[in-house]
Amino acid sequence: MTTTTTPTTVPVPAEQPAARPVTVRRKWTEHGLVFIAPFFLAYALFLLWPLVSGIGMSLRSDNITGEGGEFVGFDNYTEAFQDPGVWSSLWNTIWFTILSTVPLVVMGLVLALLSHHLRFVQWLWRLSWFAPFLLPSGVIGLLFLWVIFPSDFGFADQLLAWFGLHPGIGWLTDERYAMLSIVAATVWWTVGFNFLLYLAALQSIPQHLYEAAELDGAGAWQRLRHVTLPLLKRTTGVVLVLQILASLKIFDQVYIMTGGGPDDSTRPILQYVYQSGFTGYRIGYASAVSYLFFALIVIVSLVQLRLSRRSGESA
């Protein structure tokens, strides 16, 4: 791709002048660690150290306070691999990711195209489509749990009733619908983020490309297919990866809306970690399970890194 579609291009660093007064050169090399130290201290304490100590914990049978256990080697990992709870919650997580990613990316694009091409009352589209993203998961979860998804008197059922359909669906209590309901609520809640990313990308496409296409006799549909969509390829890649990573980390709204039920059919892996460690008090085992999950995240990130490097090379 020769034209950049990402709106966040940063100018190339300016070349250093070859000859500089010695004092100035010394200034550049001075105090580097002083600037980095505060951040690095917090980083080491609250990211690096737990990352390392977690490995140690995953090899022990400690309880929640991190004490009172003994070294058990890879027992926790062996157990995790044979634990049906791990596999089912891992599958729920992946299933949710599959179900949610496609509508979230496609809807994000559709909303951005609508807003961009309508060219008026932009504030209204942004307010209505993006505003839910700003609400805490607690608010979203409670809203859907209490007044949207209950059977009979919930808003979702009532909506169906107004259209003459038969209500009484257990949106969150019926195994057939619970995951889909969570996906629907999540799409409603978070699509605004993808919408914004696409909108930013659309606005960075130079107008003259469209004008040129129009002169060549391309209609609106052809301009979309042959100008807009190809130029959005890179953005789509970014949005897709961000979305997959975000979806894999699902916890809040499921925990609040269904608590993982009915019958653990919506329980995500992070909730399983939480339950093992914080309600089951087996923090060593919980650590082992989270490292399995971490491995999955790293794999996705590495795949993304490779893809983005490849697309960078072909530029």
Binding site: P7, L48, P50, T65, G138, L143, I148, Q203
Partner: protein, 286 residues
């Protein structure tokens, strides 16, 4: 930063049939997106017990603020709001400060091991904080930070993605201004505060806005590290007490509105900056 999300493209578009169809679709989707929030609002104004009366009506027998009054009088919600605001503001200030300093250090100084250190920081972008919940909690127990503001704040302030964004930004800023200041005898620290920071206001705002929103909305970590109701953040508190209200749907929705409103008001006021901040930070994090 060219992530401009302008509202006005200057070119007047004609009202073709296709554009009418798009308008209809956009309006329909807007209705779909507004309905759940409107319903929460409508429910919160109903008299007690009317939220579950079928067939449902948008309005109860009369409009009342009863639910709001009761929720507020029940106590904790004001406290939670203060906790959330305090935690979010402190986290944002610390994150912006620490990440900006570190980014400046990585972008502008040379010392042995700088590249290795930066690589270690970048690798952290891949680590989702959720993965660390068990060891981090054990660490908080040992440090005695459970049920304290700092226990919520500190683990959220070192964000490698923000350092990455700021390093990219600083790398793009020409060094002449700073060099001139050095020649005039200004020290490193002064250059950072009086030249670099003011120059970076837009990107710092973007990082700050993003941090503020994600801290305000964070659920899992404050949920794990606070057990005392008085120290909870708004979302955590609400989820925790939801059943102790009894099945009072109107009050539940009133508290949902109270919890959701602050950020919506902030958004209405700073729409442009927030949109730019989120889009910029979200994309550049890659």
């Amino acid at each position: 930063m060219s992530a401009s999300l302008s509202t006005d493209e200057g070119r007047k578009a004609r009202w073709t049939p296709g554009r009418w169809v798009m308008l209809a679709a956009a309006l329909l989707l807007t209705v779909v997106w507004v309905l759940p929030l409107a319903w929460a609002l409508a429910t919160s104004f109903k008299p007690e017990g009317e939220a579950t009366k079928t067939p449902l009506r948008w309005l109860g027998s009369h409009v009342t603020f009863d639910a709001y009054r009761k929720v507020w009088e029940a106590g904790d919600i004001g406290r939670w709001m203060f906790n959330t605001a305090y935690i979010s503001v402190m986290t944002t200030i610390l994150t912006v400060l620490l990440c900006a300093m570190a980014a400046y250090g990585f972008s502008r100084t040379e010392f042995r091991g700088r590249k290795v250190l930066y690589a270690v920081v970048l690798a952290g972008i891949m680590v989702p904080p959720q993965v660390l919940m068990a060891p981090l909690f054990a660490e908080m127990v040992q440090l005695g930070l459970v049920d304290t503001y700092w226990g919520v704040i500190l683990p959220q302030v070192a964000v490698p993605a923000m350092v990455f964004i700021l390093v990219k930004f600083f790398d793009g800023v020409p060094r002449e201004l700073e060099e001139a200041a050095f020649v005039d005898g200004a020290g490193r620290w002064r250059v950072f505060w009086t030249i670099v920071m003011p120059l970076s206001r837009p990107v710092l705002a973007a990082v700050g806005i993003f941090t503020f929103i994600s801290t305000w909305n964070n659920f899992l970590w404050p949920f794990l590290v606070t057990t005392d109701p008085g120290g909870m953040t708004l979302p955590v508190g609400l989820v925790n007490v939801q059943t102790s209200y009894g099945l009072r749907y109107e009050q539940m929705m009133a508290s949902v509105v109270i919890a959701g409103l602050p950020l919506l008001i902030v958004f209405a006021l700073f729409q442009r900056q927030i949109v730019r901040g989120v889009a910029h930070t979200g994309l550049a994090g890659q």
